[in-house]
Symmetry: C2
Subunit: 729 residues, 2 copies
């Protein structure tokens, strides 16, 4: 039996160290043939550990199966059930319940019945003899005798062997289940974005649980050199970019439970509830774009973008007097963009091998190519795509990311003006020569659209480009509150809400969109929810005495209370982290050392660009012989490798759609066509590290992506950086 916490009072060990030490001890024991161990904690489930944190939280990373010792005293029914609920909402499995038999209160009878319904065995034990009231030798001797008799009685009256047997068999069942999960999933699950041809059960990883930044993945006994059947794996894709506040976050679990307990789901039209109202108000107040005044709820980024497109097209058709049933209204976008998989928003991306096989896909727009940002050989560069070099010239160099995001400067620069001219001329040609009609500009403001301000500037600054008829003129509308040219829709599903270190990624561009969509990090990484925010003017475009002019969109669980409550709590937590300087260390690391601006953190609202990944790493890796370029912003790091096999120089281009569709890269390499050997090698190396944890990452072509949550521990990130340096330098 292992007794914790450590009773060495000379120095209180950190919680992480306690957990690591318990883990090591249990692993060692398992390695040396011990097949049963009990970890006895002190007090109740929420009794404070050595550092004052609840033990239920402290030991959660281990998620050991629980033998709950219930309370036979007065009030014990209540405290035992509550303790059970506290364990459950931290994702523990309670395998059995023990308590003393007390014939007066009979808690064991009530609880036996209670836990039976949950298929949890309860074993009542005889009550121990009373403690001796005095501590003299005689009493102690009598007490020892009484206890010996008592233990004899326990052994006689309680089938301890079968209790242990039960625990063992639950453990065996758990392992059996984990062992069979992959093949059963292979039989029953149709995975998203996955070519199942050639995929085998062994390509599927069972995840037993997750906590903080780590999955607990099942490693089959034959494959693994570890004694442990579970292995911690750093979630380096932030679970499809959703993760913000850590897996298994007990605060978010409690928020979810509270909203579920207070409301369940209540229908939204014509009603209002606290979580939906609070979230709408919080977003409007804090998002930093004074245009956005109305919040429309849906369930995910794709549906939220469908709503955004409906909004934008209606506003444009309304202003320009177009009849969309008679002519095609298109959108302006960026090449390689991705806005979701429902057919309406698939149509917002240009035709490619990835959508053209979808039977109802019909791309409806024009998509611009655009420059890309990377650090190469220690220098920040803006790279112009080859086909545009004739019009735009070659690339540009900058001293810092801050300089690249100095939008006013770039707008005024010769290169900026050249690019704006190119955009304007292209649109003019499309509208006047090709008779196209555009109803919205849709873009992801950063990652894809680092140069997005230039698009915005042309579209807003030249309404005459779009208004070929004699309908209402855009000039009738005051620019401060009104859209001009086209409604600008920002898809911030991936980039918003601190993924890139800021609440709004649009703030990098200093551009106020007319419609903005947030999802993914909105709930801190727990649940699907999406908000489409719009200006009052867009909202008014649907106002009419005709019911059928309304925005006819709504899902059954619109503004579900659980999602809204979790989102309110997530956003407040992230805002609190920002305001309390939780990321100042990272900001300090990325502060450009300009002669005219001392490296202080006084101006938190300045357009500083920073990343949780260290600037030194980005700079060092950019010099590595196998590296073509590196980019980091907020929680995102991308490393583009030179392709040795292919021989050619490869592009640093970030393609969200490819990122999605390429998701099965590490499921089966056979099917995805060409993938850079170098990037796959690096990914492989991270995923089988000898260190304390593996690292799960995404590889897309020749680019390896890593992502953290906003609460990731700097030690873990530095440790991953160590692996990267080892591999590449």
């Amino acid at each position: 039996m292992l007794r914790v916490p450590n009773t060495d009072t000379r120095q209180i060990p950190r919680d992480d160290d306690i957990v690591a030490s318990v883990h090591k001890t249990l692993s060692d024991w398992a390695g040396s043939g011990v097949n049963f161990a009990l970890v006895e904690t002190a007090g109740g489930v929420h009794s404070p550990g050595p550092n004052g944190n609840s033990q239920a939280d402290l030991y959660r990373p281990l998620r050991l199966p629980i033998v709950l010792v219930a309370d036979s005293r007065l009030g014990g029914i209540s405290s035992s059930i509550s303790a059970y609920e506290s364990l459950l909402l931290r994702g523990y499995d309670v395998h059995s319940v023990l308590l003393f038999r007390d014939e007066y209160y009979k808690n064991h009878e009530y609880l036996l019945n209670y836990f039976q319904k949950k298929c949890i065995p309860l074993v009542p034990l005889p009550s121990p003899p009373p403690k001796p009231s005095v501590q003299d030798a005689d009493s102690l001797a009598r007490d020892e005798e009484a206890m010996t008799t008592y233990y004899g009685r326990v052994a006689q009256e309680t089938d301890v062997a079968s209790l242990l047997q039960q625990l063992s068999s639950k453990n065996a069942e758990r392992i059996d289940r984990l062992e069979s999960m992959a093949s059963r999933a292979h039989d029953t699950i149709w995975y998203p974005f996955t070519q199942h041809h050639g995929m085998e059960a062994k390509d599927i990883t069972p995840i037993d649980s997750a906590y903080d930044d780590y999955f607990q993945t099942f490693v089959g006994s034959d494959e693994s050199q570890h004694e442990n059947k579970l292995r911690a794996t750093f979630d380096g894709s932030a679970s499809w970019w959703t993760q913000g506040l850590g897996h298994g976050n007990p605060s978010l679990a409690l928020s979810a439970a509270y909203a579920a307990g207070r409301y369940g789901h209540v229908m939204f039209p014509g009603n209002i509830h606290e979580p939906a109202l609070s979230l709408a108000e919080l977003l409007i107040e804090s998002i930093g774009n004074p245009r956005l005044r109305k919040v429309f709820y849906t369930d995910n980024g794709s549906t939220g973008m469908e709503v955004a497109v409906k909004m934008g097209l209606r506003a444009a058709c309304d202003r320009y007097g177009w009849d969309a049933s008679q002519e095609q209204i298109s959108i302006l976008g960026l090449k390689g963009s991705y806005h979701g998989d429902t057919i309406g928003v698939m149509d917002c991306s240009e035709p490619s091998t990835f959508n053209k096989k979808v039977e109802w896909y019909r791309g409806r727009g024009y998509w611009f190519d655009f420059p890309q940002v990377k650090m190469s050989q220690g220098v920040w560069k803006v790279e112009i795509p080859e086909n545009l070099r004739e019009s735009l010239g070659s690339g540009l160099e900058f001293s810092s990311l801050d300089e690249i995001f100095d939008m006013e400067e770039r707008l005024q620069s010769a290169a900026g003006k050249r690019y704006q001219d190119y955009i304007r001329n292209t649109i003019q040609d499309l509208v006047h020569q090709h008779r196209m009609k555009f109803g919205s500009l849709i873009m992801e403001p950063i990652i894809l659209g680092a140069g997005g301000m230039l698009f915005w500037s042309v579209v807003r600054g030249h309404p005459e480009l779009f208004d070929t008829s004699a309908a209402k003129s855009a000039k009738d509308h005051p620019v401060a509150t009104s859209w001009s040219g086209l409604p600008v829709i920002f898809d911030e599903v991936f980039t918003g809400l601190y993924r890139l270190g800021r609440k709004s990624s649009a703030s990098f561009l200093q551009v106020d969109s007319d419609v903005s969509v947030n999802a993914k990090l909105l709930t801190g990484g727990l649940l699907p929810l999406c908000t489409t925010m719009a200006s009052n003017e867009i909202f008014q475009a649907f106002s009419s005495p005709e019911k059928s002019d309304a925005l006819l969109h709504g899902h059954s669980y619109t503004a579900h209370a659980v999602g809204c409550q979790v989102a309110v709590d997530s956003l407040q937590t992230m805002m609190q982290m920002e305001n309390s300087g939780s990321w100042d260390g990272y900001r300090q690391d990325w502060k450009p050392t300009r002669s005219d601006s001392p490296a202080t953190l006084s101006a938190r609202d300045s357009p500083d660009v920073w990343s949780v990944w260290s600037h030194g790493l980005v700079s060092d890796l950019s010099h590595a012989p196998s590296v073509d370029g590196v980019f980091a912003i907020g929680t995102v790091l991308s490393i583009s490798l030179k392709d040795v096999q292919g021989g050619g120089k490869s592009s640093m281009r970030f393609h969200p759609r490819s990122a999605r569709s390429g998701l099965t890269c590490d499921v089966s390499t056979a099917q995805i066509g060409y993938t850079s050997t170098a990037a796959r090698g690096l990914q492989q190396r991270l995923s089988t590290s000898d260190g304390e944890f593996n690292v799960h990452s995404r590889v897309l072509g020749n680019v390896l992506y890593l992502m953290s949550s906003v609460t990731s521990q700097p030690e873990a990130l530095r440790s991953i950086e160590g692996l990267l340096r080892e591999a590449l330098l």
Copy 2:
């Protein structure tokens, strides 16, 4: 102060009566000017009430603000925090915490800090004197004296007045907030399916909480004749048809919390976790359609139907060798159908005033008109739409709903054969004369498609109708495991999972679809989640060495653990209810009394059709002078009223799309165009009942809809039926 539970031991009152009695007492007190009341419960939050149920659950319908009395003893930190968590996951608000000061354990110091972070004030009180060990007169006198001194000390050392003041001001804040919610929602929320023109704040109802079948709606002090500011309203639309197991269901809240605590969300492609696997297996095993072998997860009915359409079209194009990029592949559907609001599935419904204003809407299909079922003048009728009477003859009469759903009989009947001929001829004409190509048959199997078996029979039985080219012949495929003619897609989003009293609504038709979509009730009414199930053959249509042939669809929170876990628990609960005969009373009521089949419940799997609404009600109302027809199945009741103003006979037609888009009927009547005065009058009468609760219902044109959850109390339903009888008979 009100002490509960009732201590009259002669007869234990029912839990409902206890709650009603507490409610009445508090209401009376409030009416007579008492402005502060404490309800003292016995023991801990989960201590059993008089009937053995946890008091936290027992008193939940009242959701009174909580003063938590924490525990100052050894272990009290843990039990107090757990008690707090148990309250939260039932949706209670804890307004303050009291506990005795114990200078040895100092729980008050730890808990003060703990609750401070949650903005909950904690007031430590001096410890009371010890209980006298003997009960003689002397001791009791001493004890009384000691207690008097103690109370003096409490009054001196504790600012009880400010504690009460704090509670009062929290209550005032709560009411202020409720009073301002409607106007703040009016400012910030863009409601789904709502024409905001002319909508005012007063048209929005604040919902303070919900429990079981009831919303607690805020009734402004001026509008209400009640002393209570909150009023129970029966959720007669089942919150947009989602509700199954009651609002604020503590088991589902705990399931949600468990999955959130165990996983948060973990990315799905290439991984598997227990809730997603369990749900997939449970559905495949239990849905009763041996074709459906693969489960694809999305977030709502609309996205799930997008996936279904992608599946169906691909399978058809693959078999028939069509190139969908070169020609339009359409779907076959039913008039008035509704499959969601994303543009792809909007295109699956015929053009109408409700979608034709959506700029990118392009209906892609052909939609059949179809007969409708109703009871009129005590007789079950199948009514043929006017435009089809020439081809199909006039309507039919049946002795029971069971007879209507005797599919084999109807398929063989003369009328059935006439309708099948009509369908076959129409398709032949569309394909051969109009050169249309069809890729799927999409329908809701019941409600809209009670005659759906006829469509299915024609489409499956006549593959030659669709295969105009010389491509692969459908005859190569064995019919038992393979689709024939067209893939059949059932949209069971509304009708599935016990909404109509059966797990699968397709079972009424005795038809096995190739693709089936479930959502809404999937999570018992808590959270968005959707499953698209498909046959292995549909699945294989996407299998290829080419990555780009895969089903390219996936949302970030695909198969989120919280939703899957809640769905597993919901489904198991509903299946358990079915198996344990929870609905046998209803079934008995609906059992047709045929001479050849005695009214027993032996054959539970027989195609019995029943409803929670009593057969007597349906029959009686169908005779009412103002009623045109009535229909009931499972939890759904619809009453079609004759329109006196319009003078004409009105149709009983159920239009899910209109049902959705008509949702703001009761928000503002001015905007929705023509609505039957009679139906609105009935709705109004239900919504302002003098009884113990109001009833929220939907009115669409001249039809009033009512829906219950699967756990609704028969007493509540009979009480609503009483209101209907009163109003109509």
